[in-house]
Amino acid sequence: MRAHTLLAVGTLAALTPRFAAAGTIDVDSTTLLNLQQQTRGGVPEQPFELASTATAYEILSLTARDLRGGGIDDLTFVVRTWGAWDIQDRRWDAGTPSNLNAELSTAYAQGRLLDRRLTLRVGRTEIAAGTARMLQIDGGEAVLVLPAGFRLSGFVGSPVSQRFTTRTGVLSWNATGGDFATGGRVGWSLALPGGAGRGVDLGASVALVSDAGNPVRQEVGADARLKLWDPLVLTGSGAYSLWDERLAEVVGRAAFSVTRSVLVEADYRFVAPDLLLARNSILSVFSAEERQIFGGGVSWRALRGLTLAASYHLQLEPGATEGAKKYVGQEGSARAEWQRGPTLAGVEGFFLQAFENGYAGGRLFGRRELGRAFVTADVLAHFFREKVNNQDAAVTGSLSLGYELLRGLSAVVTGQAGVTPYMEQTFEAMAKLVYGATYRKSEVL
């Protein structure tokens, strides 16, 4: 058994007795069987082979909160784990060459100390603050709330890979890769009188990831949230690659609540996609292109139960050759959703025009509650500008039936069928039992 697996099992074993002392426990369990067809082979001039996968999953989440004592407030234990068994052909994303797999998605202990001013989190966790970019690590994070609105956070750990296998950049499923990560953020916030959230948040951050001592990612960043006037929220962030000495990403967004029912948004994004590759990948030295996207959207709760939304963006992509004029792509979408009592119905339309290809399409969906049962339907269609695998469209549909067996315990079955670029006919089925509940040891006073 690998050291990482031993560490994870040991952490779980150490945490388990603590669950029994918690004030609140959230439980979520899903037992799921998924049947689908996947392509295999890829022999030139011959059709793909079909693999029929039948995978049984057990997905379990446990959260224990409100544990106090020893000078620690809000001691919390969180675990999300799963096991899977490929009964027939092994699915391509099994993650290992084994038909039987298990994994920890999340497993951490969190406590607050010093009158809740210091938060410590240890275990398998994700780092969201600053320029960390949802880095998933086995390690820890500390957040310290200081006087005068200052806040300091730091993290250290090892980026997570699939099924506790190699963590090196070129083989890891983790987008960051590497075997060591550290970083942090210093922030300052100013609370202003007025509506909830009125004020200013400013921050500077750093994220450093290495792989056997070689650089994977070295970025500094800045971020801001401004709400000086209640209806308007401004956010922005930027990241700069220290290794490549150029901007990795800049994002700005304005959200204006015209009324409680109308939200208007405008956004701008600059990104250098090659800087998302690990710096120890040889592919990181071939490109230094950038893309810019700008546009906006509007959302309107038009009538009782009816919501309308639309968005449109322009995207400036690199031209066909070096020095060529940038290609102007665009994407847009519109959506109407109506909900009244036990009925939900919606329709969407969308399009994408990019340099290589594009599509237009639509979606119809609905849900109807029937006492303890429900039924949902969903049809999605894409029509490609350039053929994909010599096919010009993909259409899929699904029908789900659900029933609440007991309070918190439900059963759902789903059938899907479609015509896609890689499957002349595709069928998929899913059946699951879901249990979810919150348990309390005492009433809140």
């Binding site: 994994e103 320029t131 083989l171 070096e322 918190g408």
Partner: protein, 348 residues
């Protein structure tokens, strides 16, 4: 053990430890409120005439909500005004505000219940409007706690609430939420445990795609809905950075290898994209690699520095200098010594 048996065992274990399930009753399945508050308030009937304020003042730890009469009758308080049994029988639909709040403490300071209970439930209402947070902030200055994301211990669980102000989850929320998380990750954590985030943000450790797990959630915005495999090339080329935020090259290669696309699947049956003609391999790939290197990485990033690019692009190789403009201005000999990958081509 299947899920149902597992759930039963879990429930039994929790019950043995003294836990009880929180009632998450659907308001539409609860009895409607029957008592007409407005008529009585307008008539000047004091709240304490019906509600058991006195017991709440005694700091009884068992009292969470101020009590209402267990049954209406000709007896007091109703008989003070009514000479026959009222038709309406007070009902108490199950509710769970998930707040830490002591009526006992507040009743010492706040004399008028309507200071907080600004809207009372009327006949036919399924849900009683909880006092707005503005009622709390009228006395408690909470902006600092909000800024520091210290919602506990007042809010014990914010999952049931939908933000209406600074973190309004509407419009392009799916694209925008990351921007708000950067300066305010702790604010997100007030409502969402990381188990919620990892369902989408940890593809390396997820059991399966969230769309596979929740096909019935037609109301939710999912990135990979429907036949995503069929359109992933279109999406990846249009927005290469979107894929790379979550997926490492090894993830792409797991499927590409199974289908013979990957450079690591060289077995004599390698399937190259139609664009990869002999001329493309000989040098025609320059522009494609420059404008979208992420697409190259989906198949050619599996062997570290020892892979196909090196054969031609190593120093002195037939492929020439592959670096973009100004690359060498930013990477000197010191960088080459700190990155083993560089030394694959630059031997000295």
């Amino acid at each position: 053990m299947n899920a149902r048996n597992g759930a039963l065992v879990l429930v039994a274990a929790l019950a043995a430890c003294g836990y009880k399930p929180v009632t998450e009753a659907d308001p539409s399945k609860q009895p409607a409120y029957a008592f007409p508050h407005s008529v009585h308030v307008d008539a000047g009937v004091a709240c304490a005439a019906c509600h058991d304020v006195a017991s709440a003042k005694k700091l009884d730890p068992a009292v969470r909500h101020v009590g209402v009469p267990s049954g209406a009758s000709r007896q007091k308080p109703c008989s003070d005004c009514h000479d026959k049994d009222p038709k309406a029988v007070p009902s108490r639909p199950a509710r769970d505000h998930r707040l830490t709040f002591s009526h006992a403490d507040h009743l010492k300071l706040v004399k008028d219940c309507r200071s907080c209970h600004q809207k009372l439930p009327e006949q036919g209402d399924l849900v009683a409007a909880a006092p707005p947070m503005a009622a709390c902030t009228a006395c408690h200055y909470h902006q600092r706690e909000f800024a520091e994301a210290r919602c506990t211990p007042c809010h014990t669980d914010l999952k049931a609430f939908k933000p209406e102000t600074a973190f309004r989850h509407e419009g392009q929320w799916l694209n925008a939420h990351g921007q708000l998380a950067k300066p305010s990750a702790e604010s997100c954590a007030q409502c969402h445990d990381q188990t919620y985030c990892t369902a989408c943000h940890s593809p390396a450790t997820a059991a399966t795609r969230i769309e596979v797990q929740f096909p019935e959630r037609v109301d939710r915005s999912f990135v990979h809905r429907g036949n995503y495999v069929g359109r992933h090339t279109v999406e990846a080329q249009a927005s290469p950075s979107s894929c790379r935020r979550c997926h490492g090259s090894g993830f792409c290669d797991a499927c590409h290898t199974a289908n013979g696309f990957s450079a690591s699947a060289v077995t004599g049956t390698l399937v190259r994209p139609l664009s990869h003609t002999a001329a493309f391999v000989a040098g025609g790939h320059k522009n494609d690699a420059r404008r979208d290197i992420s697409s190259c990485a989906a198949c050619h990033d599996q062997q570290g520095a020892q892979q196909t690019c090196v054969g031609c692009h190593a120093t002195g190789g037939t492929g020439g200098n592959p670096h973009p403009k100004k690359f060498l201005d930013k990477h000197d000999a010191g960088d080459r010594s700190r990155n083993a990958m560089c030394r694959t081509c630059h031997k000295s």
